[in-house]
């Protein structure tokens, strides 16, 4: 067993931030150059899920947990077909993985996939810097790449693309549709519903959470058209998480408006939440340093309950948090901010009151992360069930199991959603 800090293969490596701050360490994983937006993630478990989360595309991820790689890498926990982080920044990389499910070391996996990393740097100092100055472009340089002058390296960092304005969903999405069957995830009976899921960087756990509940999921490329979507005859449409600036996702926004106009039940996660926000007419904006962790408290405003959530977002929806109101795109009726971050009041969920659509900014599929928000999948199924039964529905009106009696008694009574005869009349023809 070699110690990466000292092993002969470990070479000097540099992390250079676009404002010039430089950290020196040794190489980890592949050697070479990695350019991207430096962000920090605070999860103490789940590094394998993190690096394989497509939402981290084009980002250099700083792990605040100091020991990374302890449990190695296995064949079950990856969230997609490859590692997406552009570069990886850790303090103490494991020399020897130890876990009954471990197949190989993280170091080897990074090398195999050509991911350039750096270890032995003061990750807390980097994190504090990003917290105070905001997420910024950066580069990791090792091997021959590190032999250039710091000025040259900094110039490379400064000429790399910024995250703001980046359109990345298409880059990370699948080329061909595929179907995730409930029977492959322990569901015994016939599928209950079919969901068309737009892969904007989808994590493997998302279709699995649907499938476990008896939902057949058609995972579709990011550039899917409304006609292609319709041809699946899905009971609901889902838009996934994904990387990049939601302001660039005009195609998906247009598509979602068609879905909403057709009153197909809709659920969005993360990027999907931002697209719903935009479809309703709200703007999005970049957070200074984002929310990336698995300890993030979110309040479900309808129940007053707190969920500990898994989050990974650098952008957020700019919507009023002072109660329900008409969406800027008035034809979609009223919308409310259903969930907010308790740390900084950022919008974490949207619920349409007059059409069957809702979304959350965080990750109820939770890989990595706590399972507190899994009820949202049930909520979407309830929405599809109500729709199938022809009941007048909205994204907010479906009751769900987690609204405990105790919680309800502590919060103001939820007003009945008024039934708008017009929206009912506009109900989509199933054919």
């Amino acid at each position: 067993m070699t110690d990466p800090e000292q092993s002969t293969s470990a070479t000097a490596a540099l992390l250079i931030l676009e404002d010039g701050r430089t950290f020196r360490g040794t190489s980890y994983g592949a050697t070479g150059t990695a350019l991207g937006e430096a962000v920090f993630a605070t999860g103490m478990t789940g590094y394998q899920e993190t690096i394989t989360d497509p939402s981290y595309a084009r980002q250099l991820v700083v792990q605040t947990a100091p020991h990374i790689g302890n449990t190695g890498v296995n064949d079950d926990d990856a969230e997609s077909r490859r590692i997406w982080v552009a570069g990886y920044i850790v303090r103490d990389a494991a020399r020897r993985p130890s876990n009954w499910r471990s197949e190989r070391s993280l170091d080897d996996e990074l090398v195999a996939q050509g991911i350039v990393g750096i270890q032995g740097v003061d990750t807390r100092a980097i994190t504090r810097h990003l917290r105070e100055r905001g997420a910024m472009r950066a580069g990791i340089f090792s091997g021959t790449a590190a032999q250039q002058s710091e000025a040259e390296l900094l110039a490379q960092v400064c000429s790399s693309a910024a995250m703001e304005g980046a359109q990345l969903a298409e880059e990370v999405s699948v080329d061909q549709p595929y179907v995730v069957e409930p029977s492959d995830h322990g569901w015994d009976g016939e599928p209950r519903f079919t969901v068309a899921a737009l892969d904007l960087g989808i994590k493997a756990m998302t279709p699995q959470r649907f499938a476990e509940r008896g939902i057949r999921v058609h995972v579709l490329p990011a550039a899917t058209t409304f006609a292609q979507l319709e041809s699946i005859r899905a009971d609901g449409v889902f838009m996934s998480n994904g990387p990049g600036d939601p302001a660039t996702a005009d195609g998906q926004v247009a598509l979602l408006r068609q879905v909403l106009d057709a009153r197909v039940p809709f659920f969005g996660i993360c990027f999907g939440n931002q697209i719903l926000g935009r479809a309703l007419g709200f703007g999005t904006y970049k957070l200074r340093y984002g929310h990336r962790g698995i300890n993030q408290p979110v309040m479900d405003r309808r129940t007053g309950k707190v969920e500990i959530t898994s989050q990974n977002h650098g952008f957020a929806v700019d919507a009023p948090r002072d109660g329900a109101g008409l969406a800027p795109q008035e034809r979609f009726g009223r919308v409310e901010v259903s969930h907010v971050s308790l740390n900084d009041d950022v919008v974490e969920g949207l619920s349409c009151l007059d059409i069957p659509a809702f979304s959350v900014q965080y990750h109820p599929e939770a890989a990595a992360g706590p399972h507190d928000s899994a009820y949202l999948f049930d909520r979407f199924i309830d929405l599809m069930a109500a729709d199938a039964a022809g009941a007048p529905i909205s994204g907010a009106a479906v009751d769900h199991a987690t609204a405990t009696a105790a919680a309800i008694s502590e919060t103001p009574a939820i007003s009945e959603t008024p039934v708008n005869p017009e929206t009912s009349a506009q109900k989509r023809d199933k054919n």
């Binding site: 789940g46 605040t64 020991h67 103490d92 499910r101 807390r124 408290p297 007053g304 706590p370 105790a406």
Partner: protein, 1099 residues
């Protein structure tokens, strides 16, 4: 939803004396709770019998009852105070059990007291093994599989299902009697056969063994809205089989993937809901089979626990404080995170560092005890360290233990020794970490050691990493910067590097500092730097960026007392905390350095800044340097934290650090025997005759001169360690041979032992001109029993005014002669009306909290201000920390009487044969804690102290009396009194004859050596084991520890019966029994006692 408006007053139950398994952590949690309740405007009533706690400081509650924590006494308090609610979850198992008893006997209903923070049903579900199994099953999780059997045949059938080894537990036996581990059918037949006999219901539980599995613990919080958060995950370095309290533990968990961790989290949340923990904290323990990942739930604690204190310190999430708020009706999202200020408590802390806790043991105090670590906790304290990686944290934690041999030894290992080391490591003992690391150093493999110990390979590899670095250090030609950086990054101390490179610690430090290789200080912030932290709770690491902010005023640094150990416990933390409070109140910025996670001093809001660091010279100097460069240091207090900081005094002074209070020279004067005798000579005082021997011949000569018995001890240890009373030459020879390594540098001190002397303890303050005598304590046991183990009374019971005057004059002379500025503790012995000085300690003593509580004067606060130059006169007239006139030596006649009693841990320790170790008291201290009984009169105060120490005296029944020949005359009157009070006296042989000749009828019972009679009449130990004896009085016959006496005392301890081993204590016990039969106990708060005292002074 804000807090409940209907609660106006709350009763909080503390955890009582420090015992193994229930220690200072409950003062920490209780103090936090009281603060919250006061802030919320409630009337707070507290009961806790432990005077050495911060929580029993009168300012923390409206009514503070230092009374025994028994259902009867708490009922009296409830009847008097009529609280609206009872908060039972912050005082450990003691508080929880008392609350359950008060619920069961209807007291809570009778007085309409609501339990908050817990409900009885949830407590029972959590604590009842069988019921809890049902809970686990309903949550879709597993417990260890088990079968209840009633015959060996059924046992064999069960074995086919469970597989070997398996755990055998007979039902309804006391203290695990008959339990064992069966490795094969032969074991099974033997252990189950015995077990079926032991069990009154002929019933045995067979359980699958989870020994060697990975062990985890999750600390949880839940609020009334069913919001649940995991505060911390803790992983045990030692696999299942070693009590968590005795394990090295690590936070956060290091070897779980997210899926596995979330599974534990899901189960924990389901269990907390199913059990129905209303609000507050709880912890759940898990075992994971290393090969398959199978998860078994071990147990839960539906209350704040030892590990919640650890989790609070490890994360910055103040569990007890938040649990208290939740019990008042707040929800997690309504409570702000103290550290970030902006974010709420409804989150899960993220750590960007590693925390390691290591236990501290005291087996050297119990040589007869089996040092195997089991599921019965035996450690007496713990140290915690924080580092940016595991190796740094581990090495810091080990050196925090301040025990010789605790830090890893990297000297060469002979490869032939490796198989022995691996074999030895199979059995968990205090040495296992060292055995494992040394086996690896000698060429053992991670695989071999994993097979032998079950310690996760990731941890073994970390030890391997340390070994590799040690080799690099050894191999380096000089103190090269790259090597030093790497070594420091993995926690090597200057001392360790020096040992490996044949340099002194000072040289390594000099070179390292010249190269600019210095630690930085990071912040514990609950959130891995995601948000700014406003609480300067720091730890060192050899990393890049320092986070210590500039400070406006020079800091006053207080060195804490490190891990609790026998002889240096919570009492010293009390003084440190008081000093910090007083200095802050006086406008100073205070800095606390300590490494004990159980304590109040390491609560991050006690001092202006907290450094959670080892108390070694290196670590302390670096903190001082960090404080120097960010705003300067006024000085350092070394006199409050016991011997730990005191022994650093000279080296700190040599490094140019200003020492506040008593100077290092003065400390030396008191500690150095020769110099101190000159101080005594100058003052006209005498010490018992003594000498220093460097060989047996020397020792023999000195002992012959002085005359036997003599008190012997090695010169290089403190706290009574290795001290013995030797009655003759053969025993002197044995002592020198066995107990010491006598050399020129390690001489043995020999003192005349004063038989039948009265021992007197004094705590005083001195500012250079005036002395304040805090109190004169008279010991109940005669001299020769360590003052920490002896009961004492204040004001003194039998000392005349003239003796008190002599004690006062002697104290002043010594304080003056030594040059004390602050606290001094002096022990005297009075023999044949001659006052001898036994020793003087120019520092805060173990008795400072007791004196402070008994007299209502907070001496440590005063001492801290004296250290910054405030005079006693000012303390009296300006600061009002001391009374305007008089002192603790001039208490008026109406003053309450306070008795301090020690609490001893004998029932925790078993010999390899499985019996308890002997309970005789001696010059070596063995108590873990203390209680105070306080009342208008001595007899009742003493009775209360016994009840508080879990030794409640009987008021009727049978008393067994058997004493050594020399004690026979002295007991007649007291035994007679017991007979008059209606007790039946049991006795054996000689003692029975003496009693009979004195007209006292005693029932003669069979000695142990006689065995049962043909008619089946049992021996005295049989009677005790059957519960037929209510009190045991047995004094040892000279020097002989084994034999009848031992068996009798062991039986008494095993059965929880009061066992008195000295005549002095027996006499006062009889007085107390009489008082218990005559008077109803009153409960009186410290605040009421203080008012009485004030009135008496002015009368």
């Amino acid at each position: 939803m804000p807090k409940r408006a209907d609660l106006k007053s709350v009763l909080v139950i503390g955890s009582g004396p420090i015992v193994i398994g229930q220690a200072a952590e409950f003062d920490y949690s209780g103090t936090q709770a009281l603060r919250v309740l006061k802030e919320e405007g409630l009337r707070v009533i507290l009961v806790n019998s432990n005077p050495a706690t911060i929580m029993t400081d009168p300012e923390f509650a409206d009514a503070t009852y230092v009374e025994p924590i028994t259902p009867e006494v708490v009922e009296k308090i409830i009847a008097k105070e009529r609280p609206d609610a009872l908060l039972p979850t912050l005082g450990g198992q003691t508080a929880l059990n008392t609350a359950i008893a008060l619920d069961k006997n209807g007291v809570l209903a009778k007085y309409n007291v609501e339990l908050i923070g817990a409900n009885i049903a949830a407590i029972e579900l959590g604590e009842d093994r069988e019921k809890f199994k049902g809970v686990v099953e309903r949550c879709g999780a597993e417990s260890a599989r088990s079968h209840i059997i009633h015959s060996i045949g059924e046992g064999l059938i069960a074995a086919a299902d469970l597989g070997y080894p398996m755990v055998v537990r007979p039902s309804f036996t006391m203290g695990g009697l008959g339990s064992g581990l069966a490795y094969d059918e032969k074991d099974l037949r033997r252990i189950v056969g015995q077990g079926l006999q032991y069990s009154p219901t002929t019933e045995v539980l067979l359980e699958e063994s989870i020994l060697g599995w990975k062990e985890y613990e999750l600390e949880m919080m839940r609020d009334k809205n069913d919001n649940v958060v995991v505060v911390c995950s803790i992983e045990n370095f030692d696999p299942v089989g070693v009590h968590t309290g005795d394990s090295i533990t690590v936070a956060p968990a290091m070897t779980l993937t997210d899926r596995e961790y979330q599974r534990l989290r899901d189960i924990s949340i389901a269990v907390i809901r199913e059990v129905g923990v209303d609000t507050g904290g709880c912890n759940i323990q898990f075992a994971i089979e290393p090969d398959t990942g199978r998860v078994v739930v071990i147990e839960m604690n539906p209350r704040v626990s030892r590990s919640s204190a650890l989790a609070s310190k490890a994360t910055g999430f103040a569990i007890a404080k938040i649990a208290t708020k939740l019990s008042l009706g707040y929800t997690l999202d309504e409570i702000p995170n103290d550290i970030t200020l902006k974010t709420p408590a409804s989150f899960e802390p993220a750590l960007d560092y590693v925390v390691v806790k290591v236990p501290r043991f005291a087996f050297e105090k119990f040589p007869a005890a089996d040092p195997t670590l089991t599921t019965t906790m035996k450690s007496v304290g713990e140290a915690m360290a924080i580092g940016r990686n595991f190796t740094e944290a581990l090495q810091k934690a080990l050196r925090s233990l301040e025990q010789k041999g605790a830090s890893l030894d990297f000297s060469s290992v002979n490869s032939p020794d490796v198989p022995d080391l691996i074999e030895a490591a199979r059995r968990p003992t205090t040495d296992r970490l060292a055995q494992v690391q040394r086996a690896l150093l000698g060429g053992g493999t991670v695989e071999q050691l994993f097979e032998a110990t079950g310690i996760d390979p990731w941890y073994l590899d970390q030890l391997q990493l340390l070994n590799e670095i040690s080799a690099e250090i050894k191999a380096s030609a000089a103190l090269e910067p790259a090597m030093l950086r790497r070594a420091k990054r993995h926690g090597f101390s200057d001392e360790q590097i020096g040992a490996l490179t044949h340099n002194s610690e000072d040289v390594v430090r000099g070179v390292r500092q010249a190269l600019g290789i210095r630690p930085v200080y990071k912040t514990v912030d609950t959130c891995a730097a995601e948000f700014a932290a406003y609480t300067p709770y720091h730890y060192s690491s050899y990393d890049e960026e320092d986070e210590v902010a500039l400070h406006a005023k020079p800091s006053v640094i207080i060195l804490g007392s490190g891990p609790n150990r026998i002889g240096q416990g919570i009492e010293f933390d009390y003084s440190c905390v008081h000093a910090s409070m007083a200095l802050r109140a006086a406008g100073h910025e205070t800095v606390m350095i300590n490494c004990n996670p159980e304590t109040v001093s390491t609560d991050y809001d006690v001092s202006t800044r907290l450094y959670f660091e080892p108390l070694t010279l290196e670590d302390v100097l670096e903190v001082i340097a960090a404080e120097e460069r960010t705003g300067g240091v006024l000085g350092v207090f070394v006199q409050l934290g016991g011997q730990t900081p005191l022994k650093l005094a000279q080296a700190l002074a040599d490094s140019g650090v200003p020492i506040l209070g008593t100077s290092p020279e003065a400390i030396d004067l008191a500690e150095h025997r020769g110099m101190f005798s000159r101080v005594l000579d100058a003052a006209g005082l005498i010490a018992p005759k003594n000498g220093t021997a460097v060989s047996f011949e020397d020792a023999k000569k000195i002992a012959d001169e002085i005359g036997y018995p003599v008190l012997v001890r090695p010169s290089y240890v403190l706290g009574g360690r290795g001290m013995e009373i030797v009655y003759d030459e053969p025993n002197l020879s044995r002592y020198i041979k066995n107990a010491t390594e006598i050399t020129q540098n390690h001489p043995v001190l020999i003192d005349r032992f004063l038989e039948d002397a009265i021992e007197i303890d004094v705590d005083a303050l001195y500012d250079g001109t005036e002395m304040y005598l805090g109190g004169i304590m008279e010991h109940i046991e005669e001299a020769g029993i360590h003052s920490g183990d002896s009961a004492c009374v204040l004001p003194p019971l039998t000392l005349g005014t003239d003796v008190c005057d002599r004690v006062r004059a002697a104290t002043l002379a010594i304080a003056e002669g030594v040059g004390v500025r602050g606290l001094i503790n002096i022990q005297f012995a009075l023999a044949s009306d001659v006052l001898y000085v036994l020793e003087a300690n120019p520092r805060a003593s173990r008795t400072v909290p007791f004196v402070s509580k008994a007299t209502g004067v907070q001496m440590a606060k005063a001492a801290a201000l004296i250290g910054t130059g405030v005079s006693i006169d000012h303390l009296r007239t300006v600061h009002h920390l001391l009374p305007e006139t008089g002192d603790g030596g001039t208490l008026p006649a109406g003053a309450p009487v306070a008795v301090k009693e020690a609490v001893l841990p004998f029932n925790r320790f078993r010999t390899p044969e499985g019996t308890v170790v002997d309970s005789l008291l001696g010059p070596e201290m063995r108590s873990t804690g203390e209680v105070m009984g306080i009342d208008k009169h001595f007899d009742t105060a003493f009775a209360k102290s016994q009840a508080a120490a879990n030794n409640a005296l009987p008021t009727s029944g049978k008393v067994f009396v058997s004493v050594a020949n020399r004690d026979k005359r002295a007991i007649i009157m007291a035994v007679k009194r017991l007979v008059d009070l209606g007790f039946e006296i049991l006795s054996t042989g000689g003692t029975a004859d003496v009693l009979r000749r004195n007209g006292i009828t005693a029932t003669t019972v069979r000695k142990v050596a006689e065995g049962s009679s043909a008619e089946g009449e049992g021996t005295i130990t049989d009677l005790i084991n059957n519960g037929d004896v209510d009190m045991i009085f047995n004094t040892p016959s000279g020097g002989q520890a084994r034999g009848d006496g031992y068996e009798i005392r062991a039986a008494a301890i095993s059965n929880g019966r009061p066992c008195i081993t000295t005549v002095a204590e027996f006499n006062v016990a009889v007085l107390a029994i009489e008082a218990m039969r005559t008077y109803e106990w009153d409960v009186t708060s410290l605040q009421e006692h203080a008012a009485t005292l004030r009135a008496a002074v002015h009368a």
